[in-house]
Amino acid sequence: MIEAQDLLLFKEIEQFVYREARLQDSHEYDAWEALWTDDGMYWIPANGDDIDPESQMSIIYDNRSRIALRIKQFHTGKRHTQTPRSRLCRVLSNVELLESTGNEYRVTANSMIFESNARGDTIWGARTEYLLRRESDALKMAKKKVMLSNNDKPLYTLSFLV
């Protein structure tokens, strides 16, 4: 039987991933960066979802310091591919809590992202896996793996936060 407390937890997680999506759509870089734990890992594999990122190329395989570098690059105002910024609207759904262990939660969701920029309009689709961790009472993101449906094909520039 589902306890009320589980529902509260699920609602908290759902609100977290929605917030993350909104911060990405609205390019609120610092607020987005603040969602990460100190050991955060942001991963977008290429050529399949289950490649070994330690031997094969990924589209993004950022440790925490590289996430920070990515954000700093946006802040220079000279990240040409995001100047002007992509207009974004994403729909997140199928949020599911797969597993809770101690203070960690494994979560999946699907996203459809509509991007409009100088090149034109592009639709991106992805299944996403999160590892969330409760740290001093707040949820944080320890891992985010974005499995683009077309990651085995040639992709146009993907320079917004996905």
């Binding site: 050529n47 031997s55 570098l69 690059q73 100088a118 090149r119 992709l155 520039t157 993907l158 320079s159």
Partner: protein, 414 residues
């Protein structure tokens, strides 16, 4: 009608060269289906019967290693009714069976058999093999193909670019590089020649890449500044390079070219010294790897290779992966990490390059004036180096002019 060759002047090129679909079709005939084009690397098919799907221009090509160890380039089109024969990206098999009607081909392209053979009484099997790239050759493990049955040899085509490939391989303690990390495929709505020109354009880095150079505290921008002693060089035959060695030699620190130092890579440094001796190894590690664009589609950018694939006048894919040095695991990890950060659709560097590829494409397509792009930078100070190559200062357009001179000669050929 103005021909493509009339659109190339000493110091300028016509915008239609980038946007005209008829010119693109002529380029397929006269460049992509004629000259030597880079396809893949032997390390992608290490064992007998290995195969990997590659591209040559817009076409899919199966690169196979047959039973005898020879490399073959086969077109992915069944000789029966044109079905795509293979849908796997790589694997190991000695034959390919078409799922449509069951024809089977060996990995050298011969037709081995067809089901219900009595229906083909009198057919000459030897004429029903897969299409193949008639000339296949390799240099230091880099495999090239040419659709022309006759023509200059690969060595003649590579010319002075051979030295760049030698230099690259020498940076590996085993003398061999490998392509084993898989490719990112970055698509751009742009003409392939904007990419080729940009690869050895030493004028753009300080502007296009200012954002990452500043936040990563990178010294790369300085290499491409007005004070830099690096040179832009036209190697002839359409091949060009940014030779950064003068700067690296001035600084004189091993592995500085890779943005690090010898202390951080003890295993690599030790194996280099064991392979080449103290003095030679130190020189190699000061000089670093080349930054060379081998016409028309192989760009070696110090730590990665890019393979340019034209799809249409305004559509190009750039395939990119980290170079891996045989027997240098500590270096290889860093090569992959840096490559993943820099290139591909989300790369700190290449996403901004691609932005410029696309904006230039829209510029030459959308606005009719001025009709010509001006490539005269450094024309007044162009000079011959001690080997007779045309060189210019680090930011000069001697490289673009060399690319276009060769382009014109190919487009004028009968």
């Amino acid at each position: 009608m103005v021909t493509a060759s009339e659109m190339v002047r000493t110091d300028s090129v016509h915008g239609a060269l980038y946007s005209d679909e008829a010119i693109f079709q002529a380029e397929l005939e006269k460049i992509w289906y004629r000259t030597w084009v880079y396809v893949g690397h032997v390390s992608e098919v290490p064992k007998p019967n290995d195969f990997v799907m590659k591209v040559l221009g817009p076409q899919q090509v199966l690169m196979t290693r047959d039973r005898k160890g020879e490399i073959n380039l086969l077109l992915n089109r069944c000789a029966h009714r044109g079905n795509q024969l293979c849908m796997e990206q790589k694997g190991n098999r000695s034959s390919f069976t078409c799922p449509y009607h069951g024809w089977t081909f060996s990995n050298t392209g011969q037709l081995r058999g067809f089901p219900f053979a009595s229906g083909y009484d009198g057919a000459d099997r030897s004429k029903l093999g897969l299409g193949h790239v008639p000339r296949v050759a390799q240099y230091r493990g880099f495999v090239f193909g040419s659709f022309a049955a006759e023509g200059p040899s690969l060595e003649e085509h590579l010319g002075a670019a051979r030295d760049a490939l030698d230099r690259l391989c020498e940076t590996s303690p085993s003398g061999e590089v490998e392509i084993t990390a898989g490719f990112l495929q970055h698509r751009a709505k742009s003409n392939w020649k904007f990419l080729v020109e940009n690869e050895t354009d030493g004028y753009h880095p300080q502007f296009v890449h200012a954002s990452i150079f500043s936040v990563a505290k990178s010294g790369i921008g300085e290499l491409y500044g007005p004070q830099s002693t690096a040179v832009a060089r036209d190697l002839g035959d359409g091949h060009t390079e940014n030779d950064l060695r003068p700067e690296f030699r001035r600084i004189g620190k091993p592995m500085n070219w890779f943005g690090t130092n010898a202390e951080r890579l003890p295993e690599y440094v030790a194996s280099m010294k064991a392979a080449y001796g103290e003095e030679r190894a130190t020189q190699i590690m000061i000089d670093g790897t080349p930054h060379v664009m081998i016409f028309p589609n192989l760009f070696i950018a110090e730590i990665q290779i890019f393979v340019i694939q034209p799809l249409a006048a305004n559509e190009t894919v750039q395939h990119v992966t980290a170079l891996q040095f045989k027997d240098a695991p500590d270096l290889n990890r860093r090569l992959r990490q840096q490559t993943m950060g820099s290139v591909g659709p989300a790369g700190f560097l290449l996403a901004d390059d691609a932005e410029m590829y696309e904006r230039t494409q829209r510029g030459v397509t959308g606005a009719s004036k001025p009709e010509w792009n001006y490539l005269g930078r450094g024309l007044h100070r162009e000079r011959r180096d001690e080997n007779g190559f045309l060189v210019g200062d680090a930011t000069d357009e001697v490289t673009s002019r060399g690319i276009w001179r060769h382009y014109r000669s190919l487009m004028e050929a009968g």
